[in-house]
């Protein structure tokens, strides 16, 4: 019962806001937040029941929905993995809703915004609460739809509309992959429910499992912005900052991670699939990090960092470190949301300025944002005692333990690059003197108290510090024991002995990270660097390597290989096939009718004799028939 309510409350909220939006006026945001908070409360209430199941079987909270065909039923379930995601979605989602009340104040369509946000939460819950692939697929599609709505929320901006369309189309590619996976699995196992499929997984031929995993991963790659389906994520920053925080940092883009983790039994049976996922994750991690170095928009830096961090998560679940990858998701949700919302505070304070070249000196101008952003940045870099440290360390070491040394090297190197570009952003934006020109806009002044926006950011910053502590203690930590039912230690993924111990690896990575921070400080943070920052930054802008600025030309490649042929095909059909073939067929039919008419018209000459002859011809025809065919009774 509570599970149904948990799932449906956000939908009710969305419907209420859609219907009564104009009447609610300023209250819309509070109503929306209340619904999400209620869902969160229900999740917490179900925490105990859902986290007790026996390992290897399913005993958590379940809520059946409908039995479609006998033996094929849809329903909801709450087990440790989905419970974790639900907590993040409703909890962090609720905080972001609260923040958005302040951020979106004064916008003309506040009610529509919150309706979409609630709808998104509902869709995401559908995705994670389903106990079968079909429900997952439904949620998958709805989340893409919600993302489209929210990215293109300011629909009067052509760039926002284009970005929304791009995101949706790339997500559709992923949807198709996921659909094929469901088909393959259904054909192979006769069911689309998770537990049935996972029970049968060991008995399936490896090629089938590999095929299913590849198709599932196409979906994950699209949704989680992995190479090569990543190009939509930076453009998705056109949406409002709360949207970027909720959808494109904490929840929707992690759906791919969720799916791979959920299908752990499948992945445990196919080493090739694991290799693929891990490789893509590693490539994405370093590719995103490199692109983050050359960005000037504060939100785009964070977008590329999201792409890179999700690369870490994917790498983690790919090599078989499910709990580690999921831990990275958990900590990332906190510090990335913190970073985005703090960036939103900055943007608001500077009157919608997003270019870090025009910032500077914010340490004194927006101290709250300064401290929260610092916490978030340190967490993402993996500074010890902060959450990011625990999760990153776990993932990186696991790549070595599971036998992928080159991934380890990539991951460690990326950690350093991450530190570099994150602190680059931080130093440019917050240090030095204020570089905003004389024409800078003024800060937003709302009627709401400051805590509406600051409380969520503060809480998230606390999470960015503390969320990693649950994993202290290795395999016996609360974290691993919580997730043990879903990821039993005795799965198929081998663990090797490694030359480097855990502690040594930690120190190694930390050293790389400190080198990265040091480089960033030397280039952007010293007094000398910040003195003539404008000039230095302008010089840097001119000297950035083109391959990075153009995003490895992936957008251009997609444009040439996919977009232009599609447009050409569309043009061909629109300009040639439609007017000439389709319309032509109709026109020709009409022409035939006309010509026939002209011909037949000559028979109607008005002459009595001609008509009489026609009569006699008819009679002759009848007589001929009867003469030759005979009169039959």
């Amino acid at each position: 019962m509570m599970l149904y309510a948990l799932w449906l409350l956000p939908l009710v909220g969305a419907l209420v806001l859609w219907t009564f939006g104009p009447q609610l006026k300023g209250l819309g945001g509070w109503v929306a937040t209340a619904f999400i908070a209620a869902s969160f409360a229900l999740t917490v209430a179900l925490f105990g029941a859902a986290s007790q199941p026996n390992p290897g079987s399913f005993d958590g909270v379940s809520a059946p929905l409908v039995t479609w065909i006998p033996g094929f039923s849809l329903g909801l379930m709450l087990d440790p993995l989905s419970l974790l995601w639900t907590l993040v979605i409703t909890g962090i989602g609720g905080l972001i809703h609260l923040y958005a009340i302040g951020y979106m104040e004064g916008d003309r369509a506040v009610a529509r915004f919150f309706a979409y946000m609630n709808f998104f939460v509902f869709a995401m819950l559908t995705l994670v609460l389903s106990d079968n692939f079909v429900g997952l697929l439904v949620g998958w599609g709805l989340v893409g739809l919600a993302s489209y709505f929210l990215i293109g929320f300011w629909f009067f901006k052509p760039s926002a509309v284009a970005a929304a369309r791009k995101a949706f189309v790339i997500n559709v590619v992923g949807d198709v992959g996921l659909m094929f996976a469901v088909f393959v699995l259904f054909k192979a196992t006769g069911s689309a429910g998770y537990w049935t499929v996972f029970e049968k997984a060991p008995t399936l031929p490896e090629s089938i499992v590999l095929l299913a995993c590849i198709c599932i991963f196409i979906g994950c790659a699209a949704k989680s912005a992995q190479v090569p389906l990543h190009t939509w994520l930076p453009d998705a920053m056109e949406g409002p900052t709360p949207v970027s925080a909720l959808i494109h940092a904490a929840t929707m883009v992690t759906a791919g991670v969720y799916l791979v983790a959920r299908c752990a039994p499948l992945w445990s049976h196919s080493a090739d699939a694991r290799e693929l996922v891990g490789t893509i994750g590693a490539i994405t991690a370093i590719a995103g990090a490199l692109l983050g170095i050359v960005q000037w928009d504060i939100k785009r830096v964070l977008a590329y960092s999201t792409m890179s961090q999700i690369g870490y998560m994917i790498m983690g679940v790919g090599v078989g470190a499910y709990s580690g990858g999921v831990l990275q998701f958990f900590t990332h949700a906190f510090f990335k949301a913190d970073l985005f919302l703090a960036a939103g505070l900055v943007i608001h304070a500077l009157g919608d300025e997003q270019d870090i070249r025009n910032m500077g000196g914010l340490r004194t101008k927006t101290p709250f944002a300064f401290w929260t952003m610092l916490i978030g940045t340190m967490s993402i870099c993996g500074i010890p005692l902060l959450a990011g440290f625990y999760s990153k360390d776990e993932v990186v070491y696991q790549t070595l333990e599971r036998g992928h040394p080159w991934m380890y090297a990539v991951a460690a190197l990326t950690a350093g690059i991450t530190a570099f570009y994150m602190f680059r952003m931080f130093f440019i934006a917050f240090f030095g003197k204020n570089r905003a020109g004389a024409g800078a806009a003024h800060a937003h002044h709302g009627s709401l108290p400051a805590w509406v926006m600051q409380l969520p950011v503060g809480l998230l910053a606390l999470g960015a510090i503390a969320s990693g502590y649950v994993s202290i203690g290795g395999d016996q930590s609360p974290w691993f024991r919580f997730l043990a039912p879903d990821f039993p230690a005795a799965d198929n993924v081998p663990i090797y002995a490694v030359p480097i111990s855990d502690g040594l690896s930690t120190v190694l990575v930390l050293a790389i990270v400190l080198v990265g921070i040091g480089l960033a400080y030397w280039r952007y943070g010293t007094a000398a660097a910040t003195a003539d920052a404008s000039a230095r930054l302008a010089r840097e802008a001119k000297s950035q390597p083109q391959i990075l600025v153009r995003g490895y030309y992936v957008d251009d490649l997609i444009g040439a290989l996919v977009v232009r042929p599609a447009q050409a095909a569309g043009g061909f059909f629109g300009r040639i096939v439609d007017p000439h073939v389709v319309d032509g067929a109709v026109r020709d039919l009409a022409w035939i009718a006309g010509v026939l008419g002209l011909f037949v018209r000559r028979l109607q000459n008005g002459l009595v004799r001609a008509y009489a002859i026609a009569l006699v011809v008819g009679v002759a025809g009848f007589l001929a028939y009867y003469a030759f065919a005979g009169v039959t009774k």
Binding site: G594, G597, L598, R601, N605, L607, R609, A610, I613, V616, V617, V619, A620, L623, A624, Y626, A627, G630, V631
Partner: protein
């Protein structure tokens, strides 16, 4: 036998004369000859009453009606005016068609099995003048007023309708003539307003 053949030839020749005569009055005369031959053929078929009916009604009434109309339409003794032939090359094919259809009919009839039950006979034959014999007036009258009463009444109705129709058509309030100098003239612009398929 001989009577049949003679009458047959007379019938055909008079029919051809009717159809091919130049002046309508000649056609009427030919038709009259045809009807007389036909009446005699009826006599050979024991249909005395019908022979008389044929003469009285057909030759006596209908042909006279034709003569009246010829008189009405003609302007004195001059031949009827005739316009240009609008189907000049139709006569050959039309005759061929007629002959072909006749051939088909004969051919079909010769092949068709005449296995139709004739129905009960209603009276017996006998020498002319005997009461109630087949084809006599009393036989005909009995059939007309008992077995076939309904058709008889219907004929009365038909005739009434015909009379009313003729009065309406050609009586006092006659409709507009469509040809000739009293007919409304069609102008060239009328034709231009006709919608024509492009």
């Amino acid at each position: 036998m001989i009577a049949f053949w003679l009458l047959g030839i007379w019938l055909v020749l008079s029919a051809i004369f009717t159809v091919t005569a130049r002046k309508p009055v000649y056609s009427v005369i030919g038709l009259l000859a045809n009807f007389v031959a036909l009446a005699m053929l009826y006599l050979t078929l024991n249909a005395e009453f019908l022979a008389v009916v044929q003469i009285v009604i057909y030759s006596g009434a209908i042909l006279v009606l034709f003569l009246f109309v010829i008189a009405l339409l003609s302007s004195g003794t001059a031949a009827f005016g005739i316009g240009p032939d609008k189907m000049p090359r139709a006569i050959g094919p039309a005759l061929v068609l007629v002959v072909a259809t006749l051939g088909l009919l004969v051919f079909g009839l010769s092949r068709a099995p005449m296995a139709i039950s004739p129905g009960t006979s209603t009276s017996t034959t006998g020498p002319v003048g005997t009461a109630g014999v087949f084809g006599s007036v009393s036989d005909f009258g009995r059939a007309l007023f008992t077995t076939h009463l309904l058709p008889f009444e219907v004929t009365a109705f038909i005739l009434m309708v015909a009379v009313i129709g003729v009065i309406l058509l050609a009586g006092d309030a006659a409709p507009q003539p469509t040809l000739g100098k009293h007919a409304p003239q069609r102008r060239r612009s009328d034709r231009a307003r006709e919608p024509i398929l492009k």
